[in-house]
């Protein structure tokens, strides 16, 4: 199918884009188009006004600022994939971005677009949740910052007001000796994941887990941290401890549909999280040994 008619604006600056949004009813922001364009083509979305922010160069960057990694909302997924800074400081994000769509979609798809579309099984929202990213949001009225938990309000629903744009994120990298793992299950490579699991661990001098971050995608409407499982990992380095932590996922509410019922998602989440914890621990061990 073809999109219904709309008015297209192509602002060159964030200020222009914000003015256009403030002055329009039923407007949508067009980022890389890898989610919104299918919705337009299928007429699942029919905005009157489209504000295309692809020409705003100031929104595409990856840089280090005061010990944090700042990434612009219009940074292409391809540029995240090939960024040396991301590979070095945010290895979880690097591992996850390789599982986002395909080369042909990562060339245009953006970090901000993925976060704003907020598909329950999308990888980038899970990474933001796992790493406690700060999201920067702007409108003609001003600027505010949100945590991923505040930003992700519900099923494909963000906290953005109609006149607001996500401009970028800031992520504090973990110490270089941490371990990480991002795994997902999809029916074919590059398809939407059914469930994904992200694990990050840091070890103390005895080689026991001192900090953990555990996040599940595709289990609920938004990415889900599991503080109980994170707590259960503290002080552990044994397989039984990892099993017990992963098993806590069984207590989560899960999305339910005929193709992937909630019992199946919970079982998948438990297995994937167990695998992610094991791999993250091994990597932390290897990095600690090399340090």
């Amino acid at each position: 199918m073809k999109p219904s008619p709309f008015v297209l604006h192509t602002p060159r600056s964030v200020a222009q884009a914000l003015d256009l949004l403030a002055g329009s009813d039923n407007a949508r922001v067009l980022a890389g188009g890898q989610s919104l364009m299918p919705m337009l083509n299928m007429r699942l979305a029919a905005p009157d006004v489209l504000v295309d922010i692809n020409r705003i160069e100031a929104l595409a960057y990856i840089r280090e600022e005061q010990g944090e990694i700042a990434i612009g909302a219009m940074t292409r997924q391809r540029d995240v994939e090939f960024s040396a800074l991301v590979a070095d400081r945010l290895p979880l994000m690097k591992e996850a971005i390789l599982q986002v769509g395909h080369r042909q979609t990562r060339n245009r798809g953006t970090l901000g677009g993925s976060l704003c579309h907020l598909d329950p099984s999308a990888e980038m929202p899970s990474v933001m949740m796992a790493m406690d990213a700060t999201l920067h949001v702007q409108s003609a009225r001003g600027h505010r910052t949100l945590s991923m938990a505040q930003f992700a309000e519900g099923m494909m629903t963000t906290a953005l007001a109609p006149d607001e744009i996500l401009t970028g994120v800031r992520i504090r990298p973990w110490a270089s000796a941490h371990g990480w793992c991002f795994v997902e299950f999809a029916r074919r490579h590059g398809d939407f994941a059914v469930v994904s699991a992200a694990a990050m661990v840091e070890l103390d001098r005895q080689g026991l887990i001192a900090h953990a971050s555990l996040t599940l995608g595709g289990l609920a409407a938004t990415p889900l941290r599991n503080p109980a499982a994170e707590q259960a990992l503290i002080g552990r380095s044994d397989e039984a401890g990892f099993d017990q932590a992963a098993a806590l996922v069984q207590q989560c509410d899960a999305l339910d549909d005929p193709a992937f019922p909630s019992w199946y998602r919970r079982r998948l989440a438990t297995r994937l999280l167990r695998r992610a914890i094991g791999s993250a621990f091994q990597r932390a061990n290897a990095r600690g040994a090399n340090a």
Binding site: P5, T10, Q104
Partner: protein, 165 residues
């Protein structure tokens, strides 16, 4: 804004297969529809129109993109390569010849997009191995070949390009 451009009609200039083209498009016209209907380049095929099948894949400034997921107006100032741009003077490119030799297509509907993806891959990595080829092809659906001959053709193209190096 280019003269002739309103918020609903956009006068754009782009370079398609090394030829400068000027065309006026509606806001909602996708790049793939512009190429096919307005520029007469029907080699770019449309399958699913939501970015999944890969048939409409073209090169935008040398990088693959789904022609159905980009508005024509967004291609203003871009360099586009379609399957028509691969062969010079009626002679098949080595990649296309390899598809001929290896029977890398049956109905041919998905082939233009696959050729563009493999063109990008071989430009980035002229020694691409089978894994890299299969990974690149994962962004395309083919309902006839079972993919084996497509992979064989891509590997033959790698061999051919190596021979020329």
């Amino acid at each position: 804004m280019t003269p002739g451009t309103t918020s609903n009609q956009h006068a754009i200039e782009l370079v398609v297969n090394d030829k400068p083209r000027a065309v006026t498009v509606e806001s909602r016209t996708t790049l793939a529809d512009c190429l096919r209907s307005q520029l007469g380049l029907t080699g770019t095929h449309l399958g699913c129109e939501h970015g999944v099948c890969g048939a409409c894949t073209v090169l935008v400034d040398g990088r693959t993109a789904r022609g159905c997921l980009m508005l024509a107006a967004q291609a203003d100032g871009c360099r586009i390569t379609t399957v028509e741009g691969l062969s010079g003077d009626g002679e098949l490119a080595p990649l296309q010849q390899a598809f001929w030799n290896c029977h890398g297509l049956q109905c041919g509907y998905c082939t233009p997009g696959i050729l563009m993806t493999l063109t990008e891959l071989l430009a980035d990595d002229p020694r691409a191995d089978e894994n890299a080829i299969r990974l690149a092809l994962s962004g395309h659906l083919c309902r006839c070949t079972g993919y084996q001959n497509i992979v064989a053709a891509a590997l033959a193209a790698v061999e051919c390009l190596r021979g020329n190096a």
